[in-house]
Symmetry: C2
Subunit: 337 residues, 2 copies
């Protein structure tokens, strides 16, 4: 665990100056504090780590993957700024969000600037046209995943269109489709572009893609799990945030609802559909969820995806980067367990 964290810290040290470099390009001095706030709040830099390691596995030099790694981290931060606007988020990574500090309008404009910084980073990559295409597709999926996540909410938005199109029930496969877009798409793309900058052959790209897809699904399932059962002081965010935000699109809620019956099931749905979810409601919801095996089932699912991810790398030659990548996969699954 400790060596993965120190590896990520090292990758952060490599990547952070480039994040700032690309974000500052063509930006007004006066706007810089707004623009830089999001990347300065930190983050684990897991996506650029994936890009760099996938490049190395594919036989490329780490340096060649830096602009691509920067691009995926910029996209991730772009999505966080936008996500906070949509969800009115005030705290992330224990710090005020860009919108909380500067307001929605400035946060939105800063977010859009991130997308443009990505263009410059990608233009500095080998195989840049293909990477533009891959990353653009991933962002479209991110957008659609976010759309579904919003439509999976059970209350809390006062918009006619959303109320009309809201899902009353979400199946496990609809949930998986949503997270494969909202989370796995960019993680998968982070792996693919690592292979592309190394000019890897198609079968290596396929292996990295499969690894990324599976580790991405595992990642979101663990994220959902931590949202409900994590410790707030570790994550710098409110526990049960998804429930407070009326989200049906959390694996724990999905699995709990699958298992609960009669009044219990009704009660949990009723809480999610309350306009304002109070502390007491959250406690009741948590008690209902704890009655089920949702946590264990989710953990098993995540581990199965992680297993599939590692399996996808089987045919690639053993090397230092591959070992690191497998450790990173385990880290994603085992954080806080």
């Amino acid at each position: 665990m400790a060596d993965v964290i120190s590896e990520l810290t090292n990758i952060g040290k490599i990547i952070n100056p480039y994040l700032a470099y690309y974000l500052k390009k063509d930006a007004s001095d006066e706007f810089l504090d707004v623009i830089l706030h999001q990347v300065n709040t930190g983050g684990k830099r897991i996506r650029p780590a994936l890009t760099l390691l996938c490049c190395e596995i594919a036989g490329g030099k780490l340096e060649k993957a830096i602009p691509a790694a920067v691009a995926v981290e910029l996209i991730h931060n772009y999505s966080l700024i936008i996500d906070d606007i949509i969800d009115r988020g005030e705290i992330r990574r224990g710090k005020p969000t860009t919108r909380k500090l500067y307001g929605d309008t400035m946060a939105l404009l800063a977010g859009l600037h991130y997308r443009e910084a990505v263009i410059n980073a990608v233009n500095d990559c080998m195989n840049s046209l293909k990477i533009h295409e891959i990353l653009s597709k991933a962002i479209k999926e991110l957008i659609d995943g976010e759309r579904l996540d919003v439509l999976f909410e059970q209350a809390g938005r006062y918009n006619e269109y959303i109320i009309k199109h809201r899902r009353k029930y979400v199946s496990l496969s609809e949930y998986l489709d949503m997270i494969s877009k909202k989370t796995a798409a960019l993680i998968k793309a982070s792996c693919i572009v690592g292979g592309l900058v190394a000019n890897a052959p198609q079968e290596v790209i396929f292996a990295l893609e499969k690894f990324g897809e599976n580790i991405g699904l595992a990642f979101q399932i663990i994220d959902d799990l931590l949202d409900i059962f994590g410790e707030s002081k570790v994550f710098g965010k409110q526990i049960g945030k998804d429930i407070i935000e009326h989200k049906l699109g959390n694996i724990i809620v999905i699995l709990a609802l699958e298992e609960l019956e009669g009044n219990d099931k009704e009660k949990l749905l009723e809480i999610l559909r309350k306009e304002k979810i109070k502390d007491e409601d959250l406690k009741t919801a948590m008690a209902l969820i704890r009655k089920t095996n949702a946590k264990d089932k989710a953990l098993r699912m995540a581990r199965e995806y992680a297993f599939q991810a590692v399996k996808a790398l089987e045919k690639l030659p053993q090397c230092n980067a591959k070992e690191k990548l497998i450790k990173l996969a385990n880290f994603i699954i085992e954080r806080q367990f």
Copy 2:
């Protein structure tokens, strides 16, 4: 005038199916009505017309410029969706805005999807890497222009950061900097990319750039003028909207304030700074503005920029496309005068 309009209509017929084609790529069926609404509200398609004509002037075939023309029109519509979110716009081109119909969240997600559709269109262009760079730079300018436009407002937003950074006074040169970003940057880029897809030599690109920059400035000045003096039924938008929105960043307001003195000047500023600008206030503001030569001066400025634009084309060989481009420049200036 009539032949320019029929030319633009023809260009619309060429471009519109491609707008839909690129927007539909990788989009969920369920999301299409939200995504397509903005381009379906119409628009004059001036930017793609500039791209196509600049390609022809530079000796390229019109067909080669289609993806680039689509890209610039998509960027324009992207900026309109975002602009309406920021300004809480309800009507545009006489029709409800995307946010009015579907709410801010869905409009925002649809807007972001436009940016990705641009990537696909640009990837289909000749010299695509250069075009990615040029358009990305133009979008950064658009973002910064929008930021300045917001900071030039005198009231109406309840955000600490904006209130603190608001400009109490805007000089003519600050205004020109703002519109060169908010409007001229994309119009200039529309001309440049037309040259790029024709593989034009550097001096032709320079001429097209200078043409675009100047015609872009003229365009925004006329837009500002029409906002204050236009006829609402012709433009499908509210007259004096900029005043109601507390904007100092309108050439008429800038020039009127330059000319007004003492109480009159104070009064106009006082109205712009009122939290709620009533019909009566708008009438008073209009009367103050009409006391000045702001309208004539603005019109003269726009004509001078248009003159400089046409002059930039001097050294390019006489051809059908050049004639059309000059007519288009005149159309931009003379619409409704």
